[in-house]
């Protein structure tokens, strides 16, 4: 399949540059630190919790905060990996290789998206290893862990789609990175606006915010509407990217 060839090349090029390795290392290091700090807190409060009826468990006190910080950290990091997707090919003028091959724009975009998702899922797998080590000394809430991982995966998928679109807008990777970061942050904090205003606006902005849906999934509340929200977001930005790439040929 041609889409997978494009995805494979994208992933390969990522790992041939030090960028991917650096990002994996930094993310892993910071999250490991937070993870250990969280466990420390948990161990301190554990005796008191044992006395309580229906007290929060290890998953809620360690894994959920870890995934919460992972989301923020990845919001900062994803623009750095997605920025080069299209803009660097434009800058190096390698885009014409794809344009003059018998491939549709949709295949190019999906190929690139899958390539970057491959990298982000590797990152996710490495993050997931941390909570899994807790199984050595205790029990985890499997459902909650799964819904958290799903939430993080969908979140990364949306980050990547936004990043890909921003990358199709510019020939400068740095510009793509900064604008991706801006859009992601805006989508993240959108529901803050709701705090002061009345019901309806609060509802709309709250719904649009990525944070809101992620929080629900983190709490272990699997609602298909949250999943659909992310899938829609991904679709919208992928379709926009295809159109943007198509427009390249028509006016430059």
């Amino acid at each position: 399949m041609i889409i997978f060839s494009i995805a494979a090349r994208e992933l390969r090029s990522l790992f041939l540059s030090p960028l991917a390795w650096t990002i994996l290392a930094v993310v892993q290091f910071i999250l490991a630190y937070l993870f250990l700090a969280q466990i420390d807190v948990f161990l301190q409060v554990q005796p008191r919790l044992a006395a309580l009826e229906g007290a929060p468990g290890m998953t809620e006190l360690v894994v959920v905060p870890l995934f919460g910080s992972a989301a923020i950290l990845l919001l900062l990091v994803v623009p750095l990996v997605t920025m080069r997707l299209v803009s660097e090919e434009r800058k190096a003028q390698t885009m014409s290789l794809l344009f003059s091959a018998p491939i549709s724009m949709t295949e190019i975009i999906i190929g690139k998206y899958l390539g970057i998702m491959g990298f982000l899922l590797i990152t996710l797998a490495l993050i997931a290893l941390m909570p899994l080590t807790l199984l050595l000394g205790g029990a985890l809430d499997g459902g909650m862990l799964f819904s958290g991982l799903l939430g993080l995966a969908l979140l990364l998928g949306s980050f990547a789609a936004v990043g890909l679109f921003m990358s199709t807008l510019s020939a400068q990777p740095a510009v793509a990175a900064i604008s991706t970061f801006g859009v992601l942050l805006l989508l993240w904090i959108l529901d803050w606006v709701g705090n002061n205003s009345s019901g309806e606006i609060k509802g709309i902005f709250g719904y649009l915010s990525m944070l809101r849906h992620y929080e629900l999934l983190l709490k272990g509340m699997f609602d298909s509407s949250d999943v659909i929200y992310y899938l829609l977001l991904i679709m919208v930005f992928l379709v926009l990217s295809v159109h943007r790439l198509d427009a390249d040929r028509i006016q430059r």
Partner: protein
Amino acid sequence: MKAQVLVSVEHLYRYYGGACALNDVSFDVNRGEVLGFLGPNGAGKSTTMQILSGNLAPSTGRVLINGMDIVKQPRQAKAALGYLPDQPPLYRELTVNEYLQYCARLHRLPRGEHRVAIDRAKQRCGLTEVGKRLIGNLSKGYQQRVGIAQAIVHMPALVILDEPTVGLDPIQMREIRALIRELSSEHGVILSTHILPEIQATCDRVQIINKGRLVLSDTLAGLQARMHSSSMVVALHKMPPMAELAALPGVGSVELLAEGHRVRLHHTSEQNPAEALVERAVQQGWGLHELIPECVSLEQIFVDITRTEPHEVTDVTRDEAA
């Protein structure tokens, strides 16, 4: 000779904002033909190449490759073409083998044929020894060759090369020209360049584009006939009266050159007065010791055409056919 039409370009226009980069460009390319595309910088060469390769959509007009419209049936049309842009589209972090493998996949070659296709392309472009090296570490000349290999790896019916010999040393240039000639046995080739000897060495047909308009389209043979134009310089020891020279059959006008015993004879292209002149010179004892037919270089034609404001397309091939 009725050759098979591989590419037909019909009334191409392309605007960049208000500026018109291409103005009513139409031409055909046949199978097994090398078409040279010539023009000064900014004349619209690269724009034409980009449109032909589907990298750019024409504002109006259409391009058919193998009968397929490049805008409406891009997949079928693009399957038949290989394109080398003026900047070779190389991924510097890949090795030559990996890169060509990727290109073969992009062009949907069956997996089993990859090895053979890649080996053939490498062998043709002289890349056999550098297959395992990173493209980024290769010299400019080798990178250019990888670019060409990329354009021919899937054996397309049409190869479009935009200034393929830029940055090459003279030996490599000759090799690339030989390669282009070799390609023309199986592929149609469109070659854009501003290097005139390259056109003379490789092309069957030449088109000159200036300010977005096609100002000349001729076979190389036709151009060469045009280059053997209509004057000769003659040196005589004993200069006869001008009127006597002017009376020779075919001579239009006579021009005395500064040295005093040389004249330039302008004549019609149908009738060459050289033979009559020599006969007469021997009879009358004029002491003829030099006779030089003057050639206009391709460069001269190029300069003449691109400097004067074009009003009409001089399409000699079509005139001759009519």
